[in-house]
Every structure is written in structure tokens, then in C-alpha cells.
């Protein structure tokens, strides 16, 4: 396949993944804000903005006023935020058009449909009453694209690059949420066991669509270390770092088999993967959760760049 097409499909799926994760993040933030007083709510919205890497941009426009409607619209549709969700959907669609010949009709139609719907839903500012419907559609649309992909795409290099794009992005998103919220999970924080803690923990899980799975695995008991372990190391949970790297490993291995050679990217992956397999949650807390996550994010970025280079995404 063309290097340019690999690039297109990689970014198509990165953008879709990012849009979906952003929806979850807003959803969790919104829920949190509803249950808190104004100051805490505004703290919560700020942390959502920080997680998305939009703080400087946001504060240029609104200062430190983190009012819910401003934050929501800034993330979803504000033209002053070039990375808004509508722009992601549009970018995904542009990439899909570019690689139209490499994806099935079903995948193309679901991406196109997704863009058409989001464009309609985000044509005017989103009031809090409409937020639920917008986020719900966003999530459904991602599910639809993923379903079309699973059901109709040939399992070849194109599929591999699509999956690699998805999981690089997902690993990055999960890690960024952990990076912003790491202090919530630190055992040293004093109000362990308080209801505030429970709410904070549940919120982290909710932003990653993991609250139900975690509760189910732990018979409803919440505990910081357990949550961190679940989100980082539990390879059964589809948004954990270990799960994402498992998928990256199998897709990169597939490429190596198909092309008959491994690349630099395989070496970086192996290092990261080995780390996720051997390290324990105690060891992570020992070296510092924050440091560990920061290192993970930077290596994940390095891996993405190396893949783009090794497979000639650009000249």
C-alpha cells in the first residue's frame, strides 16, 4: 500500500479514537460538575481542559473562568480551538476520502455519516440540555465505524495501520487522564476512604468507560492502587495501557510477517511491552506514578513517530 494511504488510515483512526475519548471525558466531567459546588465544578472542568492539552488556548479566550457551557463548546465546536471535536470528525472524514480506495464502502459510509450527523448536531452551540444527546451520538458513531471495520475489512496491512492508529491514540488518552489525575490515586493523600475519594476514583474510571468493569472485578470495592493497576496493567480491560500495547504488538507483528522484516518501531514496542509485562503496580508507585506515566507518554509518541518514519508515511 502507499505510504500516504498508511498515513491517512492511521490518522483516520487516531482522530476517531480521540473524538470518542473526548466525548467520554466531557461526559465524566459533566457528571462530576453536576454533583459538586461551583468551585469544585470549575476545577473539574479545568482538569478536563488540561487533560486535552487545551489550557493555554482556553485561557487565552476565557481567562480562568471555567464555566461548563464555555468548556463544553470550546472542546466540541469552537473555531478558536483547531482541535475541536467537529474538526476531528472532519479530519477523519478527509482522511477517509483520501484513503477511500483502501477502505470498504461500509467503513466509508459510517465515517461519512458520522461527520454529517456531527456537523448537524454541532451547527449551533450545545446547551447542557442537549449535551447528553450529542455525546451519545458521538459514541454511537464510533461504535458504528468500529463495527463496519470489524465486519468488512480485510485483515491486511491496511487493517493493521488502522488498528495501530487507534491504539496509539487510546494509550495516549488513557495515559493523559492518569497523568492529570495521578494525585487522586496516590495512597499518600489523606482522605482515603472518604466519600470524596470514591467520587474522584469513580470519575477516573468513568472517563475511561471502566467503572462497571472495575466494580464487577472487585465486587464493588474501590481502592486507589487497584484502580491504577486496572488502568495500567490489566490486559483484559480494553482501555488499559497493557491492552493497547498488546494490540500494538500483534498488529506490528503482523506487518513484520507480511513485509518480511522488523523495523526500529518493533524495538521500541518490545521495550515498552516488556516493561508493561514485568513491572508490578508496587514498583510503579515506588518509582512514582507521575514519572512512570510521563515516561510512558513520551515513549508512546516516539513509537508513533518511528512507525510513521519506518513505513514511509511521508517522503
Amino acid at each position: 500500500m502507499l505510504g500516504r494511504s498508511a498515513n491517512g488510515i492511521f490518522w483516520l483512526f487516531r482522530n476517531l479514537e480521540r473524538a470518542e475519548n473526548t466525548a467520554r471525558l466531557i461526559e465524566a466531567g459533566f457528571r462530576m460538575a453536576l454533583t459538586r459546588d461551583a468551585r469544585d465544578a470549575s476545577d473539574e472542568w479545568r482538569s478536563v481542559i488540561v487533560t486535552l492539552g487545551l489550557r493555554a488556548l482556553y485561557e487565552t479566550k476565557f481567562g480562568t473562568d471555567y464555566a461548563g457551557p464555555n468548556v463544553i463548546n470550546f472542546i466540541l465546536r469552537d473555531k478558536d480551538n483547531p482541535g475541536n471535536v467537529l474538526a476531528m470528525c472532519e479530519l477523519a472524514r478527509t482522511n477517509a476520502r483520501m484513503v477511500r480506495a483502501g477502505i470498504t464502502r461500509e467503513v466509508w459510509e459510517s465515517v461519512n455519516d458520522s461527520w454529517l450527523r456531527m456537523r448537524e448536531l454541532l451547527a449551533r452551540p450545545v446547551a447542557e440540555t442537549r449535551l447528553g444527546a450529542v455525546l451519545d451520538t458521538l459514541r454511537r458513531q464510533s461504535t458504528q465505524v468500529r463495527g463496519a471495520m470489524e465486519g468488512t475489512m480485510l485483515r491486511n496491512e491496511i487493517y493493521n495501520f488502522a488498528r495501530i492508529g487507534s491504539f496509539i491514540e487510546r494509550a495516549d488518552n488513557t495515559a493523559r487522564i492518569l497523568d492529570v489525575k495521578y494525585y487522586v490515586l496516590l495512597p499518600s493523600i489523606s482522605y482515603v476512604g472518604s466519600s470524596l475519594d470514591n467520587v474522584q476514583w469513580e470519575n477516573v474510571l468513568r472517563s475511561l468507560a471502566g467503572e462497571r468493569a472495575y466494580r464487577w472485578l472487585n465486587a464493588g470495592r474501590m481502592e486507589a492502587r487497584g484502580i491504577a493497576e486496572f488502568l495500567i496493567l490489566d490486559s483484559r480491560f480494553p482501555r488499559s495501557l497493557a491492552f493497547c500495547y498488546g494490540k500494538l504488538r500483534s498488529n506490528l507483528a503482523h506487518l513484520a510477517r507480511e513485509y518480511g522484516c522488523e523495523t526500529e518501531a518493533h524495538a521500541i514496542l518490545q521495550e515498552a511491552d516488556c516493561d508493561l509485562h514485568t513491572i508490578t503496580i508496587d514498583a510503579i508507585f515506588e518509582q512514582g506514578l507521575h514519572e512512570y506515566i510521563a515516561k510512558f507518554i513520551s515513549r508512546n509518541t516516539r513509537l508513533a513517530n518511528q512507525i510513521q518514519y519506518d513505513y514511509r508515511f511521508i517522503d
Binding site: R100, Y259, D315
Partner: protein
Amino acid sequence: MKAASPSSYDEMFAADGSVRPAYCGYEEWYANQPADLLRRKGTEAEAFFRRTGITFNVYGSEDAEERLIPFDMVPRIITAHQWRRLSRGIEQRVRALNAFLHDLYHRQEIVRSGRLPARLLEKNPAFLPQMVGFTPPGGVYTHIVGIDLVRTGEDDFMVLEDNARTPSGVSYMLENRETMMAMFPELFTRVRVREVSDYPRRLARSLAACLPPAAKGHQPVVAVLTPGIYNSAYFEHAFLADQMGAELVEGSDLRIENGRIAMRTTQGYTPIDVLYRRVDDDYLDPLSFKPESQLGVSGIMDVYRAGGITIANAPGTGIADDKAIYSFMPEIVEFYTGEKPILPNVPTWRCSEPDALKYVLEHLSELVVKEVHGSGGYGMLIGPTSTKKEIAAFAAKLAARPHNYIAQPTLSLSTVPILGRGGLTPRHVDLRPFVLVSPGGIDITPGGLTRVALKKGSLVVNSSQGGGTKDSWVLDD
């Protein structure tokens, strides 16, 4: 716009209101459909096109928004008998076109014989000196041709235009059929219509039959070259690449390696055997043509001439689309086939000839005047629908550069009904059949693209000017 002339030939209904044989099967079905059902289907069809992304971009329109080409649900139907005659005529014309192009770029016998004035080639930007003395792989110049036909009576089909450069619209032919079959499956069990869906496969086969000398014995590598996603026909480029299983490449994906044109793949550069390019000659090679072009590949003409790649259609075929050349097509057909043309031209005045110019200037309000190098319905005058002021302005342009224009009578184009608010209502149509040429022969897909002027009485069918399309049926025997 001029009102539909009552003398126009309607393809569905005879003057006495009876249904013509081609439409009998369809009309029987139509008569039993509740009117609101068909209207609902119209909305369905539009949603279908929007979702599948069958859109085109209009150059120069305010917002570069993607638009749908309106689709009308009443098919345009041609009988098996009519089609046989049309195909013979099309085949003859396309054969002549290829022989003509070969001759133009070699001995120019037709000029030597005095049947074609040499001045039509001199200073004609569509005539490429880079092609002189070179024979494309397989001897094929126009791998894909679209012949625009108009009809004025039961057996009166005429060629309005030849599209030998890069004819577009075939994806609409295919998608219109898909849409009709999805919406009205039962209709196709009642009326036997010849298939068009294997066009992409036939295109792939026909392209692969023209391998360049440098191609190795392996499976031929075919790629479609597109100017990119902002081109008005991008949907079609992607569609054809997808359907053929070919790569869709852009200029930035390509470079020369070991005397071949190679595309940047995830595993390095892979040579291309046949390039189906949807980029105009001018932009194909910045070294040979427009130096600022980003859409082509530097040096591709040298590689081509050295046998490293097949370019389809061959560069320089656009000369055959020239409207001054067109006016000589009857002579051209006769010169190369030794036969009288089966399909006549539309009568044409060459404004470069003083007598013709005089006549045209005196009759502008009745004529259609076109630029010889123009296309897409731009830069033309339609006398009967123009104001006095427009005609006067055009007359000045015409008098200043007469050789730049040809004129034709305002034809009473045939009509086919469209589904309007109040039921069936006649609109003018044309037809563009698609023709594939390979060393093995000429392959014509039964039917083609019917373009329809949606405005009452309008004769302009171009999609860039508000025209729509119809599914075109050739009936099975």
C-alpha cells in the same frame, strides 16, 4: 429559457400520447406506482447519495461545498435494435480517432492529402510535439473515450462532442444503476436491462493489456493518478481505483527510480506499469509542460518515451477534442476507415472560414457558439436564450478571434420525462456512452451516462450548470 419546443422528439411518448415500444415495460410498472411512493423514493435517493459521498465540487462556486448531482428516477431507455446501430457507429468513430491520432503524431497523411488544414495543428496547445514519432504501448491512444450523443428523432442520433482526453462521469453511470436497483428491485425483474456493473473489471483488463516494454512478466501494476481530494471528480477517481483494486496515487507519491515511475509504498518504491491518469496533459510533467505543476511527476514524459510506463489516455489525445478538429470528423472517419460515418456530426460552421463567419454573425440569435478549446459548457453562447446585449458582446469577441469559435444550430434535442411535482414532464437529454480501447479491440458498455437539463426548456445538460443524470438502460433482446 426557451420553452420546450413542441416539435422535440420525446423518447417515451409519441405525439399522440401513446407509449413508445422502448418504454412499454417501464410504463406498465410506473402506472401502478402510487405517486407519493415515487416522491418518497426521491428523498431516499438523495440521502443515499449524500451518505455514499457521491458528490462533486464546483469550480468557482462560492463555498467549495460538495454538491450532489441531481438524480432523476425515470430511466432513459434504448432498445436493443437502436443500441446495435449506435455501437457500430461509436466503434467506427473510435477506431478512426485512434488511427487519426497515430497519423497526426507520425506522417500526417491526412494533412498531406489536403483533407485537414495544417493550421489546425500549428500553435494548437493540445497538439504535443513531445508525442511526435512516438507510438504508445499497444498502439492505443485513447484507452477510455466518451462520445457525447444527441438525438433529434427516432433514428436521428448525432455526435455532439468527442471526449478523448479524460472523459469523466462513468462512476455516475454505475452508481445510478446501483441506486435504481436498490430502490426498485422489482422493476428489474420485469424489464430486462443489460448490465453495466462490470465496467471497472473491463477497464482494468483493458489497461493491463497495454503494458509498457519495461513491465516484467508479473501481475501488472495499475495506478490511478488523481489531482487530489479537492478535484471535482475525486469521488470518481477513488471509486474507480477501489473497484479495479488499483492504487490511487497523487503526484507527491511518485518519483523516478531506475527508469520507471515508482510509487512510495510502506515498503519502499514500487514501479507502476500502467498509469490511468486523471490529470490533464498540462500538469502531467513539470519538465515538459507547466513548470509550476505539483500534480504530476517530473520527467514522466522521458520515462514514457523510453518505454518505462503506459499513460492512459496517451498525452496529446486532447487534440481530438478540439472543436475545430471535430468539424472535420466526417472526413476523418472516411479517411481512416474507408467508410461513410454511421453517426453524423451536428452541422457545424467553422468561424475561421469567412463565409461561415458572415453567416454566424448574422444568425447569432439562432445558434450555439462554442470555443474550439472549451469544455464543460463554459465560454459558450446559446443564441435563443441570450439577451441582445449578451449577443452583441459575444459578436465582438467572435469578430476579434473568429478562428477560436465554431457554431452549431440550436438543436431540438430529444426529451425524456423526469419525475416532477405533477408527474412526468419532458426535459432535454444527451447521452455519453463509455468506450474502452485495447489492442484486442473496442469494448462499449451498453448505455452510458444520460445527462438531463432539469430546467424546463433548457438545453444545457452539464452538471456544472445545473444538469442532472438518469440511469440509462439498454434493453436486452
